[in-house]
């Protein structure tokens, strides 16, 4: 039987201060990035605008500054231009400045056609093929943004309710706070890498949300079970025990999921790579937050709003197994959270 990290007894929670300091540092880096350059790089799906992906067939393909010059002259404004993939043949052309977007109010197809015409004029008929074109009016973008925010908030609410029902509200709140941390950390990650916030990246973000929640739930499920066993130990110890007991599962699941997302990141089509990058980061932050955000938060909530007196809840004397490090330790209640389930 091949075993990894079996029967461990690490005191994970003891490191909570370091972990929180690390994650705060990361979040502050993200915040600093926002201060240096406000706003996030949004795709045309959110800003409205036009994006074309064109492949030049002629040999040698035109240089990027030639294309830029031609388009700036033909359109009257400078479009965003970037090489796509390798080989110097494929370019993405974006027109998503406010002025260009308002020009689209009359109908989203105009700018794309204009770009096509300018390119044909400058480089000749048949010198390029448009591999994909995407134009979005300004209204749609706003609706999508609203939709995405509503989706996140609603899934928070539903999670809270579901966990409150299956566990109890303390667990639900801790899980939601941990998940909120993941969303914020992932946004910081997106900002730091200057990834473009597109619908696919939003999908990735929400998957991270689900994934991190998964992780938290697996640990909490074990906590719930250990609480039922009525051991005379603090919640602090129970939490550590549960994390240790689920450790092999965490390692193995993360290894397999990471294998999948890394395969997508390295070998997948370009379009899906931002999604895979967000997912890869999310697996790390999701694991981390399940242990270091969800755990301490649960302990903190327990101390703040202890379970009913009479079941030895509250800041009861610490058991001898508590190392007494000054963390947010709380005596566990021996009474099951949900007596029959």
């Amino acid at each position: 039987m091949l075993r990894i990290l079996h029967g461990t007894n690490y005191d994970f929670i003891r490191l909570w201060k370091i972990a929180i300091a690390a994650t705060m540092a990361f979040l502050l880096m993200g915040a600093a990035a926002f201060i240096v350059r406000p706003g996030i790089n949004e795709s045309i799906e959110f800003t409205g605008g036009t994006m074309l992906q064109a492949e030049f067939l002629r040999n040698p393909p035109p240089r990027i500054d030639e294309i830029r010059a031609a388009l700036t002259e033909g359109l009257g404004h400078e479009p965003g231009l970037a090489e796509f993939g390798s080989g110097g043949r494929e370019f993405t052309i974006r027109a998503q400045e406010t002025a260009q977007v308002t020009a689209q109010e009359a109908g989203a197809e105009n700018v794309a056609n204009q770009i096509r015409r300018v390119l044909t004029q400058r480089f000749g008929e048949g010198s390029f093929v448009v591999k994909s074109a995407h134009a979005i009016g300004p209204k749609v973008g706003g609706e999508l943004r609203r939709g995405a925010i509503i989706a996140v908030l609603i899934s928070f609410c539903i999670t809270l309710v579901y966990l409150a029902w299956r566990f109890e509200w303390r667990f639900g709140a801790a899980a939601v706070i941990a998940t909120a941390h993941d969303i914020i950390a992932t946004i910081a990650f997106i900002k730091l890498l200057n990834l473009e916030l597109s619908l696919t990246v939003i999908a990735g973000l929400l998957t991270v949300l689900g994934y991190s929640l998964n992780d938290t739930i697996i640990i909490f499920d074990r906590v719930r079970e250990n609480l039922r066993k009525k051991r005379k130990e603090t919640l602090y110890v129970t939490l550590n025990r549960s994390i240790n007991e689920t450790l092999p599962r965490s390692i193995l699941t993360h290894a397999t999921t990471l294998a999948a997302t890394l395969a997508l990141l390295i070998f997948g089509p370009e379009v899906i790579q931002p999604f895979a990058a967000v997912m890869t980061f999310g697996i790390f932050t999701g694991t981390l937050s399940s242990i270091y955000i969800a755990g301490p938060t649960l302990l903190w909530i327990e101390r703040r709003w202890p379970r009913e007196v009479g079941d030895r809840g509250g800041v009861a004397p610490r058991s001898h197994r508590d190392p007494g490090h000054g963390g947010p330790a709380v005596a566990a209640t021996p009474k099951p959270v949900r007596p029959t389930r």
């Binding site: 093929v129 009016g137 209204k139 739930i217 697996i218 719930r224 290894a255 397999t256 395969a263 999604f275």
Partner: protein
């Protein structure tokens, strides 16, 4: 062991159902060749459709364009527009198009395989409001011109020096024009089978000397038929913008309209656009049209012949009878099609629209748009996305490669770590893939790129469930339980974690589906199908494998896990 038999039976039934759901079936496809000939073919096709991002094609999202006129009930207007669009697109000959209303204010159209953006857009967006009107014979424009010139000048719209253009520039052009049109008389016979043209009206100047200097009048040249004026292409933007000024439009004589012709008329070096003044009252509307078909003829180039309903034909006959000798403009979406032909005698149910030197495809498209009827409201494009077929194929190749590598790595990790049990999990994974695809096919889902990502992710979820169970069995074995009890207990105890984590992920997926759009929805659907299939395989199918193994090796003392 009847329990085991029932389990196996259930699995076999599910597999059979899945294979049935995925079995390639015969579909009749309507195809339109490049020549416009429609053919029907029976093909066998795997029931999972590829989305636009993989198959290549076009996605158009339309909303009501209320910039020009207010639309009272958008939702209801869109419902009517939907019917018209469906009909047009069916005629267009796209394999498996999708036309649907989203929410109350949007129609989305998906056209797999279509790359020609302009053509698709013209078919979708053309309002196809057909009218027949008599051109103005009373020189109403010439009389109104001084007033129009004055308004334009007062508003300061005319560029400096425009008014000083020598008055005879127009006259110079008029001469070659008149001679050319005289020779062109055959083309004017376009309104009906029983009309011939005798018109050779010369393009005498209709303007008095004074008015020739106005900013508008200096750009207009008299055409060869009553109510026709010619504008050089270089002047077209200026004239068009003058005519779009509300005050100018208001000053146009009551009961008359100014409309552009659709064709450019090349005369020597200069191209001209025709401008027509017509009577506002339509003698007939396009809703009386019953059939339309494109035709190519030596004499008239490309034409669209149409047939009117009996009622429309009667009305048309009376009206044309009354207007013999006059010219009839055929107006589509506020644009005069071809040159207005003269009405020779009463016209009945048959007529035709001259397309001039346009391509045959244009005539085909016009015919199908006319047949499907007019759009009740103008629509504007709020989103359009075109994906080339090569890009789609590239994405599929890379997606499949990434998927295979991911699956390979997962198999490797599972088998190395869990040995025999790992292999059971992999066998379960085969069922998982089968069930997931079947569920997707059952729901008529479309495979998109984010969908593939969701699929890869749900493989992760499926494996996670197995890992949870296996770790649990190991713990039970550690506690000294027998193999059989350990397996039973392992499944039992892992259940709550699996259910809770899967249900919460599923809830997120449902929210994504509800509030997401397009690609995000595809992701959510695959994720949901994957979660359902993974619960089934990890909890039920893999457990059955274990039961089979237990039965074969009765009293096994050790489990390879």
């Amino acid at each position: 062991m009847s329990n085991l038999r029932n389990r196996l039976l259930f699995i076999v039934v599910l597999v059979a159902a899945s294979i049935w759901a995925l079995y390639p079936r015969k579909v009749v496809e309507r195809r339109e060749g490049a020549d416009g000939v429609v053919s029907y073919q029976t093909v066998r096709r795997f029931p999972l459709k590829k989305g636009l991002d993989l198959a290549g094609g076009m996605y158009i999202s339309l909303e009501v364009d209320d910039t020009k006129q207010a639309v009272a009930n958008k939702s209801e207007a869109l419902d009517r527009a939907l019917t018209v669009l469906r009909e047009r697109i069916d005629e267009f000959g796209v394999v498996e198009p999708n036309v649907q209303k989203v929410g109350d204010d949007r129609i989305i159209i998906e056209l797999p395989g279509v790359q020609d953006e302009e053509r698709a857009l013209s078919i979708v967006q053309q309002q196809a409001f057909l009218e027949f009107k008599i051109t103005d014979e009373s020189d109403a424009l010439a009389r109104a011109l001084p007033r129009l010139d004055r308004i334009i000048r007062d508003k300061g719209l005319a560029p400096a020096g425009r008014g000083a253009t020598p008055g005879d520039t127009g006259r110079k052009v008029a001469d070659p024009l008149s001679s050319l049109f005289a020779g062109d008389s055959a083309r004017q016979d376009s309104a009906g089978s029983d009309s011939t043209t005798t018109d050779t009206t010369s393009a005498d100047s209709l303007f008095g000397g004074a008015t020739r200097d106005g900013p508008l009048s200096s750009l207009l040249n008299a055409g060869s038929i009553p109510g026709e004026y010619l504008v050089a292409l270089t002047d077209f933007p200026a004239v068009d913008s003058y005519l779009s000024v509300p005050d100018v439009r208001a000053a146009i004589p009551p009961g008359r309209e100014l409309l552009w012709g659709n064709d450019t008329i090349p005369l020597g070096q200069v191209g001209y656009r025709a401008l027509y003044m017509v009577n506002s009252r339509a003698i007939l509307l396009g809703d009386k049209l019953e059939d339309a078909s494109p035709q190519q003829s030596q004499m008239e180039g490309t034409v669209v012949s149409f047939t009117l309903s009996n009622e429309g034909g009667r009305r048309f006959r009376t009206e044309t009878q009354r207007n013999i000798g006059k010219y009839m403009a055929i107006i589509l979406d506020k644009t005069v099609m071809g040159r207005p032909p003269v009405i020779q005698s009463a016209i009945g149910t048959q007529g035709q629209i001259t397309m001039g030197g346009r391509r045959f495809q244009d005539a085909t498209d016009l015919a199908l748009v006319l047949k499907a009827g007019a759009l009740p409201v103008p629509l504007k494009v709020s989103e359009i996305r075109t994906v080339g077929a090569s890009l789609g194929q590239d994405s599929i190749d890379k997606g499949i490669r990434a998927g295979l590598i991911a699956v390979g790595l997962v198999i490797l990790i599972m088998v190395v770590y869990y040995r025999f049990s790992g292999m059971l999990a992999i066998a379960g994974l085969v069922f998982f893939v089968l069930y997931t695809l079947a569920v997707l096919a059952g729901f008529d889902a479309v495979v998109t790129l984010p969908g593939l990502a969701g699929f890869v992710l749900s493989i992760g979820i499926a494996v996670d469930a197995n890992v949870l169970i296996f770790e649990r069995i190991r713990e039970e074995l550690d506690h000294g339980k027998t193999v059989r009890t350990a397996i039973d207990e392992g499944f039992k105890h892992a259940m709550s974690a699996i259910v809770d984590s899967n249900v919460s992920t599923a809830l997120t997926a449902v929210v994504l589906y509800q509030y997401g759009s397009g690609p995000v929805r595809g992701f959510a659907v695959t994720l949901l199908a994957g979660i359902a299939a993974s619960m089934l395989t990890s909890i039920f199918v893999v457990k059955t494998f274990y039961l089979m193994w237990l039965q074969r090796s009765r009293g096994a003392q050790a489990l390879s896990i």
